[in-house]
């Protein structure tokens, strides 16, 4: 029981799970789930109480029962007490002060990550403003490698997302070339297939592999099919760089996605066995998003941001190359408007980074949400200022297969130039070699068509990919 008198009103919250939910800044998904604070005062009362909770309490009071949930078991069983020791005496409120202080250096934060549980990260984020989330996340550094090095200081990577409504190979290739010539694609070239079809997945993987080999691009490919489809593709001999899967923060939600920890481990092992990484072996790519557990009626009474942070415990067990919060994709029933989407994106980035993950953000919205490109510009700019690891690159910001709006190649150029951020170093060198960026100004594109692409463009226009 957590109770407090505030402004002549007595507030009591029956358990830590309730307290966490009530302390969460307003969002529609928590209202939908019936766990949100009833008014501003109740929310602030919960925040005061949460600030007084010792961090150790999160190790004693599991928000989802240990016996019932393999994600809880993963969190508790993998907790590193030695890493936790330097802050084990702090309350949530003290922890916020510590994070903002000079004591929390990049090195200290890296050492702390295995000692933090997702619930601790979520708790402290609930009493932080956006500038706190940005300032602390900016101090975290998470570096991962496959065919290039992602997450270095003053770098921002991009996923090239050349989706097509029917997985047409020439259609995908057209967007792929457009993106590469705009300097995009160092995080991954990742296609969402229109259907979870094994043959289409295999063909797309082959095509991406051919392109990466022909142009010697220091990047990795991924077809974002279900993990079981990717496993089948691996068994068929398909060239799989990264294994993709959507994940969530409760066992039940993961079950609704058709996955569990054992299956993810099996897929990771299968991809590792292919030994396709050249500079590292981070071979997993996860996507998450607040509201996905509730959407599957599997939130276990938790608020959606705490559920989301728990998904990061799943992610970090598999040493991913990339983790992407697809923040505005789910729709207004979970994040109602631009304000809620922006805060959620920065919370997710903060929690992910604190827990040691290479966090990217799909800065995005759907057409039934109260959001527009102005909101996305704010999230894009603040996310990059916070040291975000990667963003999406979608032609003209319009994903013609998934039917939502993300960030464009132009958006990536804008924010890189604004904040003087470069892509992964190996990819930066490649852009220079091909004359894609200006020789004197790395934040500006060259105005001439690179020689290596001239022939390919002619081939593509000549239907080299077997246009049906």
């Amino acid at each position: 029981m957590y109770q407090r008198q505030i402004h002549n009103r007595h507030y009591h919250f029956k358990d830590l799970r309730t307290l966490m939910a009530k302390a969460t800044p307003l969002r529609s998904g928590d209202v939908l789930a019936g766990v949100a604070a009833e008014n501003h005062l109740e929310r602030v009362a919960a925040q005061w109480l949460l600030a007084d909770v010792p961090l150790k309490q999160f190790l004693n009071e599991a928000l989802v029962p240990y016996e019932l949930d393999e994600v809880t078991r993963l969190i508790i069983d993998s907790h590193d007490a030695a890493a936790f020791a330097p802050i084990s005496h702090l309350t949530v409120g003290d922890f916020r002060d510590w994070l903002l202080s000079e004591l929390a250096t990049t090195e200290a934060l890296s050492a702390l990550a295995p000692g933090l549980t997702p619930e601790m990260a979520a708790a402290v984020s609930k009493i932080m403003r956006l500038q706190d989330l940005i300032a602390v996340a900016k101090k975290c550094r998470v570096i991962t490698r496959f065919r290039n090095t992602i997450g270095l200081e003053k770098r921002l990577s991009t996923r090239l997302q050349p989706n097509h409504p029917t997985d047409s190979l020439p259609g995908v290739a057209a967007s792929l070339v457009d993106g590469l010539l705009y300097g995009c694609g160092d995080a991954v070239i990742g296609i969402n297939p229109a259907t979870d079809n094994l043959e289409a997945t295999h063909r797309l993987l082959q095509m991406l592999d051919e392109v990466i080999q022909r142009f010697q691009i220091p990047t990795q490919a991924c077809v974002l099919a279900h993990v079981t489809t990717t496993l089948k593709a691996i068994n068929q001999g398909a060239p799989v760089d990264l294994v993709f899967q959507s994940i969530a923060g409760t066992e039940k939600a993961n079950t609704s996605f058709g996955v569990n920890l054992g299956l993810l481990a099996e897929a990771q092992q299968a991809a590792l066995a292919l030994k396709r990484g050249t500079v590292g072996d981070n071979c997993m790519y996860f996507e998450t998003g607040q509201g996905s557990a509730l959407s599957a009626n599997a939130h276990a009474g938790l608020d959606q941001q705490t559920c989301e942070a728990r998904a990061y415990a799943v992610a970090r067990a598999f040493k991913p190359l990339l983790v992407n919060t697809v923040v505005g994709f789910i729709g207004p029933e979970y994040l109602y408007d631009g304000k809620q989407i922006i805060r959620a994106g920065l919370e997710d980035h903060f929690c992910g980074k604190l827990l040691g993950l290479p966090m990217g953000c799909d800065v995005c919205y759907t057409n039934h949400a109260e959001a527009d490109p102005d909101d996305m510009d704010l999230l894009l700019t603040t996310f990059a200022a916070a040291g975000g690891t990667f963003i999406m690159g979608v032609p003209g910001a319009d994903d013609v297969m998934l039917n939502y709006q993300s960030t464009s190649f132009h958006d990536a150029l804008y924010v890189r130039q604004l904040l003087r951020l470069k892509p992964a170093p190996e990819f930066e060198t490649w852009l220079h070699q091909h004359g894609i960026v200006d020789a004197d100004n790395p934040w500006q594109l060259a105005n001439t068509l690179p020689a290596a692409f001239k022939a390919s463009l002619q081939n593509l226009s000549g239907l080299n990919y077997g246009h049906e």
């Binding site: 047409s168 057209a174 259907t195 039934h368 132009h410 049906e468």
Partner: protein, 253 residues
Amino acid sequence: MDTNKPPSVSPNPWADLQQFTPARIALGRAGNSLPTRAHLDFQLAHALARDSVHIPVDFSVLEQHLTEQGYPSLRLQSLADNQAKYLQRPDLGRLLATTPPPSASVDAAVVVADGLSSQAIAHHAAAFLDLLLPALQQRGYVLAPVCLVKHARVAIGDAVAAHYKAKLCVVLVGERPGLSSPDSMGIYFTYQAQAGISTDADRNCISNIHHNGLSYQLALKKLLFLIEEAENLGYSGCLLKDETQVGSGITHL
């Protein structure tokens, strides 16, 4: 005019590639940003897509079409009785406001849900049902009346299938409107659907049925494959893979 000054908009010499995709490629750039024309094109498309979310569904045309084709249909509504509630309360969009009249047991429940795009249903449902309903009958399936459900989410099909004790549940639904495809229709197939129990992991999805997307014929081929496989395996969902050949399938309507 001083011809030595660089132009303020740099075009992209690969505009030819636009023939292969509806994606917004080769837009050119003003500095690193979108040129004015491309920016306003986007704003226009966003306005159209936003407005299309709020166009109410009119099932009367589809109802009349089905009657003419000799298929009984039934109009139903979810517990979300208006569009604002529909958008904010997905739980209500999955539940029927009224129970359909009792019927003899059937094999297949076909449901048409407006979802997030009534235009998708207006443009594609009749033509697809013209292919689907006879195909199901040819395979010996007894059909429930086609249920046309307003303000409905995908899982409303579970409630309908459970009511009719149908082992096949096929839901046609208006997908969230995209900038380039405000009228995209999706199909969700669930085998042995159970109201309140089936989850997304139990369904197979065929999406992007529209004029620049998947053709009706190919969507039907995929659906019939999934139905046949589900009958063999005894389940649908993420463990049932669409293994139809795609070689000749990438076509436009």
